[in-house]
Amino acid sequence: MTAAPALPTDSLGNTITVAESDDVLVVEAADGSRWELVCGLEVHAELATETKMFSGAPNHFGDDPNTNIDPVTLGLPGTLPVVNQQAVELAARFGCAIGATVQRSVFSRKNYFYPDMPKNFQISQYDQPIVVDGRLELPSGHVVGIERAHLEEDTGKSTHVGGAGRIKGAEYSLVDYNRAGVPLLEIVSRPHVRSAEQARQYVAELRSILVACAISDGKMEEGSMRVDANISVRREGSGELRTRCEIKNVNSLRSLVRAIEYEARRQADLHAAGQKVTQETRHWDENDGRTHTMRSKEEADDYRYFPEPDLVPVDLGAERVAEIAAALPLLPAARRHRLAGLTGEPVTAEAVVVTVERGQDDQALAAIEAGADAGRVLVHVVQNLAVDGGADLAPERLAELVKLETSGDLTATQAKQVLAELVADPSTTAAEVAKAKGFEAMDTGALESIVDGVINANPAEWEQFCAGDDKARKKLSGFFTGQIMKASKGQADGRAVAQLLAQRSAS
């Protein structure tokens, strides 16, 4: 009996699993064969500390070159690293936020030569990382497993002179070590991302957590959050795992989506043609919309990891970790569940997702708690308060406005206008604005006479409306409502009008 082939394992020796999903990117190759995306994401987040990972040099973006340097940063002979307490705290905070285990961890040296690395080794974590085994629930409800997260130091930055600033064709390079030593949290997901949209949601959600917990400012555009994608494809419906490629240089969520779609197709086409996908690192080029092989190395890097002899292990202990977990702010997924619960919307509803994403769920909830109709509150927050200053509108004002609307004192259109005024002038109340604008509920008698007036003025259309089928009625209803609105100078309440038209046509 032949032994089963060894199942592929991750960096910690666990068997690799691929998550199933309703939303899977499937690429159809030229020969009609169909290929599913299997994707894992590696995110490097710069931690929001005052100082660097292993020394007291400032952790600050955008300063003049080589101004945030100390002897340890430069790796000057004789210098030694000492671990930044806050970096450990933030990593633990992240672990708690994703429901992971925060464990005793050890630092390791990753040895390779590159001019932006002052010591020609990077202090990182290898076989005992600080965080293992977490999960991230996306707004769509899909869950992505997180294999590990570990602490390491960032490298310096080189700029290439000559050759249009790209590394290829440059005459020489200049190195700035300001970024060298900045604390990084490397977050590695399991290959549970099955579509480009899930990838986008994963990164956005991760970012929300990092920002909500003050772990990182998550600015992809400043490089404080970097994303690499590990992509492979497999035959639709199969359980196989094929060769994957690592895609680097994805600098925005939009690039991420494009890169994934391109690479999945590239690999599918190769497999379908009977060709091999080489396991390699590829570079995403935003300009030509393709991934490219990076300069091929003659042999794979041998990083010769060994435990960092200048540092001792870090073990926060269960009690401290529990304290950190207890002190976490409410996270985006929990916020979505809370808002969904209170509004009766599904947790995946766009209104719920968007409101939490914009950080306006507290506003909405407070308004609802003040007695306003949950549905109307949500509609207003999503549609009318997505403007400058909208998030600052006091929930009591919003609640007051919604109450005026639901009691019939304001039409939907009027409510929208009042809301805009409230945002512009926070000192005023909904009632005051309504009064100032002359938005009072039209009395029933006046409305009835306007409706009757419009009916009488359009007898032919009225006959069609009364006699017509649903389709005709719908179309003509629009016509009559329009006329009534015009005649009432917009003050008629839409629902009241519909009611009256129905009444009149029935009699």
């Binding site: 002897p71 790796g75 000057l76 004789g78 210098t79 690293p81 010591k119």
Partner: protein
């Protein structure tokens, strides 16, 4: 004059730090061309430091416990504004912008730095013949090596250039040259003395330690440099121990064990005899002396030559011509790094870098580095078991006395010099060499006293007794 005497005199105002500095600088002028203990003599720094000490004394300020004492500093310790080369071409002329913690402490204590001493390149060697700037000669016999890697520091004390010097010890680099030159050399407990500013060779083994002509002087210097340093995460979270006040405690009741594995084959019988004589002296002073087995010490050499080069290969990767030191130009950065390192490193350094790289490389890590780290555990356990039975251990410091310059060319033969000293570095314990007699040619013999981690006090107590009982050493061919 001893360091203790100088400090006492200067602090009392009865001796001038400046005249003491001048006297030592004159002696250096006179004999240094023969000995070559220094890569750099620093008369201006010395005179400025001495002047400052004299100023403080005159002003009634405390000049520190090492007031006016000249000291030589191994050239792998960073000195702010003063060239620090590790005796390597790759760092020739490099000037650090900061002081090692031990240097800060000695300057604050009033010591007077007279120069940076020669060493085997990057502390890799046992004879100081691997220096890129020429060897140091043993002041006792100029045709012989002073030992290594801290040969210059040992020679500086032996030649009277300074009563104190600092060295570093990774596998015996303080104790072995101390034995060869007939001076006292101490490797403190790992973590007792800060490594911040010591240019790293093997991070988990390196320690900075004192050389002196007397046990009391060595204690004085150790007290100044030892103690927790927040800049070194491996430094023991305790202040410096008090040692000097215990030097006259004697050894009544102290249990001493002679390490049987280090007294037989491979050890010069003359040296073994001196160790037994030292043991007898301790017994006569009231200690209980037995023979003790520490079996794993025989694996020390092999484990060391897998661990130390592995850590060194990583520690020396930073020398690449990009940020400081030598750069050999080339069209690409990679070629520049290769050319710089090839030209800048000597053969022993290259040998160890390659050995270390191999020991860590994919597929070999478990068999080599991983296995050696386990042997370390065995050695630590065997020492711990021995220290259940005894308080301190005794052994030769070296298998032979100082050999002639150029006598040993084979690397492995050179490594055998460290068989007695290496195990202590692997265990992280304390050990020191005390001069005790000489061989027929008048070459000094060193006796090694070993103690468990943080056992400096009993170690020094035993050392004081051994020193007092040491036979008068015939003056060697060249000394004085």
């Amino acid at each position: 004059m001893t360091a203790v005497d100088i400090a006492r005199g200067v602090r009392a105002g009865s001796a001038s730090a400046t005249s003491i500095a001048d006297a030592h600088l004159a002696r250096i002028d006179e004999r240094e061309p023969d000995v070559h203990a220094f890569n750099l003599v620093t008369p201006d720094v010395a005179r400025a430091a001495a002047a400052e000490v004299d100023r403080k004394v005159a002003a009634g300020e405390d000049p520190g416990p090492l007031a006016g004492v000249p000291i030589a500093i191994k050239d792998n310790l960073c000195t702010d504004g003063i060239a620090t080369t590790c005796s390597s071409k790759i760092l020739e002329g490099w000037v650090p912008p900061y002081d090692a913690t031990v240097v800060q402490r000695l300057v604050a204590a009033g010591a007077v730095p007279v120069g940076k001493t020669n060493l085997d390149e990057f502390a890799m060697g046992s004879s100081t013949e691997n220096s890129a700037f020429g060897p140091t000669r043993n002041p006792v016999d100029l045709s012989r090596v002073p030992g290594g890697s801290s040969g210059g520091s040992a020679a500086a004390v032996a030649a009277g250039f300074a009563p104190l010097s600092l060295g570093s010890d990774t596998g015996g680099s303080i104790r072995q040259p101390a034995a060869f030159c007939g001076v006292v050399g101490v490797k403190p407990t790992y973590g007792l003395v800060s490594r911040y500013g010591l240019i790293a060779f093997a991070s988990s083994l390196d320690q900075v330690g004192p050389f002196a002509a007397t046990v009391a002087d060595a204690a004085l210097l150790l007290e100044v440099i030892a103690g927790h340093d927040p800049a070194d995460a491996t430094s023991i979270p305790q202040p410096a121990p008090a040692i000097s006040e215990h030097l006259d405690d004697g050894v009544a009741g102290l249990r001493v064990g002679v390490i049987s594995e280090l007294m037989g084959e491979g050890i010069d019988p003359v040296i073994a005899a001196q160790v037994r004589a030292a043991a007898d002296a301790l017994a006569a002073a009231g200690a209980t002396v037995t023979e003790v087995s520490v079996p794993a010490v025989t694996f020390g050499l092999s484990a060391y030559y897998l661990i130390a080069p592995a850590e060194a290969s990583s520690n020396l990767a930073r020398f690449d011509g990009v940020r400081y030191g030598l750069r050999v130009d080339a069209p690409t950065t990679n070629e520049m790094m290769v050319a710089t390192r090839t030209q800048g490193f000597g053969p022993e350094v290259k040998r160890r870098i390659m050995l270390g790289t191999y020991a860590l490389s994919a597929g070999y890590y478990d068999a080599f580095y991983g296995q050696a780290q386990k042997v370390r555990t065995l050695i630590a356990r065997d020492f711990a078991a021995a220290y259940e039975e005894v308080d301190v251990l005794l052994s030769p410091t070296t298998p032979t006395t100082a050999f002639a310059l150029g006598a040993i060319e084979d690397p492995l033969t050179m490594y055998l010099n460290d068989t007695c000293t290496i195990p202590t570095n692997l265990a992280g314990d304390a050990a020191m060499s005390v001069p005790f007699g000489a061989d027929a040619a008048g070459l000094p013999v060193g006796v090694q006293i070993l103690a468990p981690a943080l056992g400096e006090v009993p170690m020094f107590r035993a050392a004081a007794v051994v020193e007092a009982a040491a036979p008068a050493r015939p003056t060697g061919k060249d000394l004085r």
